[in-house]
Symmetry: D2
Subunit: 336 residues, 4 copies
């Protein structure tokens, strides 16, 4: 069983975390080369895992010992590196977003088709969460009948000051955008954002919470509360309602404490804790898929669709109205 | 402690149920007179509780031994009886709707003001449910900060064939319409209905489920799933999300069974079971309030507001757009 | 429908509470006479409900207007009043204990049989709690197969200083002693008390918690944690394990709060709140049973059995060993 | 980072499972040699992971490329292999039981002390379960005060025909025996088994369920229901009750389904699913500890203690009485 040699472009927080996972948690892979815009950081990170620090991301892609590439650099650079990896015929795992514009996503989608085999996976890790997987299993088995609605919430305790209102769609809701497409095996055809009274626990410029509405091609309706300053914790809720029943994501299992007049359990404060196992599974399955040249995870098309839909969501935040998503037809290459 | 002598107009299902409650569950009251459009039924019901059967509802109102009136007749007759009770200076408990048009509700509101003291209570029983009361207590105490959103669901297993699409607002959502106004102590200023793909488990003519959106004067946003053919049970959900926390109605406590690979508990099939205690408390508190001439329950104004808002909701179902509710200013008489 | 006129002997806390219930919550009954060892208190309580204050309990029993008697006086006086009520041929509801010695319980059992019809009901209110009733329903329906074990806990936040170690059986566990006999429709044949390390949150003289073990005639085993200084709340747990499944009492439904990193719900602090509805139902059903001369609630025999079994439990606390309960044969009169 | 080369003795079900984990789930280790009493099976398993099949377990221990040994052979052979590994100065992970007699456990304990450093870890995987770890964290933090009681249940849906009554202690309860010692950081000083009425869903020869009672040196009391034919699932319960609160293991998080009048979630059918992650963590941590020569997992002493205590439990099953465990003094080597 050949080990997969991975090159990592971008050694900021998420890059380091993926390097740690590949090194400590994923069997059959190792990080052999890294690059970062800050060469000192790259060197430091590289030396920790006995990898080479290379001057540029392109060098990582070109390095002959690199079998596959992980792109965790600054968002605006994603498209360039993913396209370069495709050009080099190497598998590439790209953290969300696949690109910062739908056009760039589409260029990737086209380049991959020209290559003729899937090379790109986008980092939508929820598809690897045990709870979401069980949700999908129940839905696919027909246990709740045809799905008609989904009620979702995505709550963060707080966000840093740099977070602005469009990020509610682009950075936060994008996870649910991918998840509902995948869970329902259907496409989002319109988006709308309602703006409840904003919390006072936020930066002046921020619209928070936002209440998002999506319509699927098949007629199911999705509602999603995005509330990134909810104070109390990182809390993810998802209920799918079908013709004969409803199925809900469970709260993560933590011990129950009875004290001081209460029965209580903890809520995670951080998405990194909430989805720690999902990240592990995501990278482990990606490595296996790379080895077998048989990618099944979120595709470049999924990255493109998420980009178009989050753009539509942001536009609705601006205009207040319903915005139809203008997705191209899905190519047969992606199961269209 | 004087006993309250109650006259009941309308001895159909809900009338009989209220008579039974007053007789068997409410201390300090008894049913002394009844009337029904079907005189035989009135006689039968009257004899069960040793009351008089009178020819008409007006006779019940006029009967000197009747201290207070319960109106449980056919909806279109409500306004007439309530107005007559006010004219007679007698307290009147009217099952929802207070009247079938907003105009008639307004006539009642005006008549009551002319009388100068509250005489009318509308049968919004959820305000008497222990769970909702605890919700209100938590919200009022500021334990979740300023409320920003409410997520609600109102699911029935099935409905009879006579149920049509407008009833989703008029008969079903009307409970939540009253509840959110009361919980948030705020007014609904707009309504909108989205229509997810309909379930196949319904009559041809019915739009089911409906997803309703309400906006409060203070900016909070309410979403409400109404799904009257959900098959699995009568299920009421309500979560209020505030600036620092969220509070949810609990599922009713029933025993937990572990068998056959599952942990499970029951869901009620019937609103009569789900809110049985709320109905008891509602009538018991009404009787006490009548005795003390100090009504505090849902008022004629609440009945009027619910009527206007459910009309707006039905209009949105027809037009698809956001419909502003056009409520009159709340008179000081009703705490305006 | 004739109203039942009740005389109450003993107007301490529990007596006043029962008087309040009968007056405010129970249809078809009223309190017409009271007596107390403190005549001033009796007068005060009587005047609140427009009843007569009589000099002695015997006077209450003898009063011609009294249909039925409630005994809520000091425990050592119970037997005398219950026997007197039987002698007078009047129904009597006696708070636990039925008598302070098994011998006195037996005298009551014998007197009632001589009378020839059931007149005595003992105040084991858990049989009227909705959760326990549903437990019994599930067990009786065979939904968990033959019961093999029950795991119970009875926790109080604190107890007053007068509480001593034997009261863990006599006052606290006595509720479970009755409940398991009723739920399993079987008799307890032995008792044993294990003494875990005692909490430091207790009076010096008190053994707390106590871990009690009971064996049923049919072979089922019961374990019961009695912990009366658990600090955090009044918490009652009961799981019955059968051949094919297990069924548990639910925690009471209270709202769920998500805040400060937690999901939490309340635990009652007081048995009066936890079993408030059970007390209401208990007295309402007793009044109906009295009116129909058809008692079905906990009998004098149940009071006798509870007395014998709690004596055995106390003996085991003293000796440490297994103590066989030495119950007489159940007379046919009591379904033996 | 050096990879740990592991030799596995015994390639039955659990051996194959550990080989699969080490190969697929544990970073930094690989299986290089295996042996089994069935040489064909050894060859087959070895070829799957590109390891050598050796004739005997001793050959595996002696193989120079083997850094550390996993013993998953038939229980009666454990002691011999563990002692041989110690003699060879190699780390050894031994599935429970460490040995089939307390005497043999003691010989291992003594041999390890002679060697002078810990080499032995016993396969008590619950210490690696996230829920149990959180329980320990809460207890150690003092969040429930001094622990006074633990209520545990260990339920299997069914067992194979070879399972006999002593195995309830030796194979089943042994997990809780280790867990409570670890959670409470205290020793078990006595054991007793009560035998409720047996289920009819069992083999004739089997006493099932068994209700076990343990007393800790510090006075805490443990009760444990072992029920290996409970039919409905593999269900593990553990509540620790302390002076100020109680903490419970959560049920594993699975999706909640609302359908057919119920709210329900799944119960695992198999301990391999229930503790799948615990097994992964156990082996990953063991490999790291081996690499760092710094074992912290369940020790030979823990294996010895579990053996002595399960023997005492079996003796109580035979005699019915309380059996004091006769543990040697814990050597300083093991933190005594």
């Amino acid at each position: 069983m050949r080990s997969v040699s991975v090159g990592v472009i971008g050694t900021g927080w998420i890059g380091q975390d993926h390097i740690r996972r590949i090194t400590e948690r994923v069997v059959g892979a190792r990080v052999v080369a890294v690059a970062d815009i800050d060469p000192e950081r790259a060197k430091q990170v590289a030396s920790d895992v006995e990898a080479r620090a290379l001057p540029t991301g392109q060098d990582v892609i070109d390095a002959p010992e690199v079998d596959a590439v992980v792109v965790t650099s600054w968002g605006p650079t994603h498209a360039e590196y993913v396209l370069a990896a495709i050009a080099a015929g190497k598998h590439v795992f790209c953290e969300k977003p696949l690109a910062t514009t739908a056009e760039d996503c589409l260029r990737i989608v086209e380049a991959e088709q020209v290559h003729g085999r899937r090379l790109v996976q986008v980092g939508f890790m929820r598809r690897y969460d045990a709870g979401y997987r069980q949700l999908k299993q129940v839905i696919d088995a027909g246990d709740i009948g045809t799905p008609l609605m989904m009620h979702c919430a995505h709550r963060n305790p707080t966000v840093p000051e740099g977070y602005h209102s469009a990020m509610a769609a682009q950075d936060t809701a994008i996870h649910e955008i991918d998840t509902v497409r995948w869970l329902l095996d259907d496409e989002i055809v319109s988006a709308q954002v309602l703006t409840p009274r904003s919390t006072s626990n936020k930066f002046e410029h921020l619209t928070d919470p936002q209440f998002m509405l999506f319509e699927m091609a098949g007629g199911a309706r999705i509602d999603l509360e995005v509330f990134v300053n909810c104070q109390y914790g990182y809390d993810i809720r998802c209920e799918t309602v079908g013709e004969t029943g409803a199925v809900s994501l469970p709260d993560p299992a933590q011990v129950w404490l009875r004290d001081a007049g209460q029965v209580r359990t903890g809520v995670y404060q951080d998405w990194k804790d909430r989805f720690a196992e999902a990240f592990d599974v995501e990278l482990a399955e990606w490595v296996r898929a790379v080895r077998d040249d048989a990618l099944t995870g979120p595709s470049a098309w999924d990255g493109y669709a998420a980009s178009v839909i989050s753009d539509a969501t942001v536009e609705s935040l601006r205009t207040g109205g319903v915005v139809n998503t203008q997705l191209k037809d899905r190519p047969e290459f992606y199961g269209g």
